[in-house]
Symmetry: C2
Subunit: 184 residues, 2 copies
DNA sequence: TTTGTTACGGAACATATTGTTCGATAATAT
DNA sequence: ATATTATCGAACAATATGTTCCGTAACAAA
């Protein structure tokens, strides 16, 4: 990719991130984005067909980073599934989120738009589905598997939101404990 | 209230409901609302300061009806809390929702906007808080009460969404059973 | 270095939407 | 019958989205 293109794209994403930490998506105008990014209006629309596509690509880059199934930055080539078979998959997720790369927590907090949670949730789905066996218990026998899956995913998302909205005073270990306490 | 005012207000809400079953809030324009309601633009803005206030009052009327703490229509003066002390509070809620008054289910479904769920959730909060004792168990001792409250509310909302999105094939009794199975 | 290609900037533009204003008219209340 | 109030319709300002065009600058390949 052309260096100019790359710089423009990054500048737009950077400006977008900054704006998102102060106001929500629908209150942000394209004018503000390009002003913060210091790029022309036509340039912005050459990169992103519409404002909604900008959001879409932004989320894809962001969550692909967290749910990356290849390797995990900072841990060399440590895979997020390394500890599969034990409960620490979700602990790793909470720990990673606590680092707050790209100010992702502001995007996931309740006061911000639900759009991000929708993207986050869809990424979380495959993760939960592949680890559903960890949660089997006597009560999962009384309900359909699809309902059970949905419950685990929802509970994780809601736990995360609760954690963020309450200032993240608990450690990742404690919040994982809360999460596991209620889902089984 | 003036008969003209009442008719206008109802016409606007009726048109709004119709539009909401096809598209989400942010895609609906005031022009479409007043066209469907067959009222003038100035009239609409005489009733509702902005589009957001329209939504707000619409939700308040809608959810006030369901969470009414005075009496419950259709059951004479049967109070929603009549059966407090047993689990049927939530069964009643599921049963009432199944009747789908004012097409409320379309508004709460996943494809529709999250705005309604936010209003619904805030109404649900007081209900859950006053019945929290029904859910006390050994696991609720391991976590903060605020987290526990939030979990019950979230699980109810997510159960409802799952029910709607999967076609509501289960009876209110069964879905209540699923709900109770996962929260305790 | 030269040449052809591609991205960029800036401004103007069309289009759509929100919310306001105003005067004429019709429904309502007393 | 009269005064009040809601409504209509149309025009209006303000703002946002997305498009178009052209001159300029950065890039890649010879």
């Amino acid at each position: 990719m052309d260096r100019r293109q790359r710089k423009t794209r990054e500048a737009i994403f950077r400006s977008f991130t900054e704006l998102l930490s102060h106001k929500e998506f629908h209150q942000i105008t394209v004018g503000e984005i390009i002003e913060g990014a210091d790029v022309g209006r036509a340039t912005c629309y050459a990169h992103f067909e519409t404002k909604d596509f900008l959001l879409k690509e932004f989320c894809e880059e962001l969550f692909c980073h967290i749910f990356d199934t290849e390797n995990h930055e900072g841990h060399g080539h440590r895979h997020i599934f390394d500890c599969s078979g034990c409960d620490s998959v979700f602990l790793h997720l909470f720990q990673h989120l606590q680092k707050n790369d790209n100010n992702i927590l502001a995007l996931l907090s309740s006061q911000n738009n639900e759009l991000f949670l929708r993207y986050f949730r869809s990424n979380l789905e495959s993760l939960v589905k592949s680890h559903l066996h960890l949660f089997n218990s006597q009560k999962s026998a009384r309900i359909p598997e699809r309902f059970w899956e949905n419950h685990i995913i929802s509970t994780f998302v809601e736990t995360l939101k609760w954690w963020i909205d309450n200032g993240m005073v608990e450690s990742p270990e404690v919040i994982t404990d809360y999460f596991l306490a209620v889902v089984r």
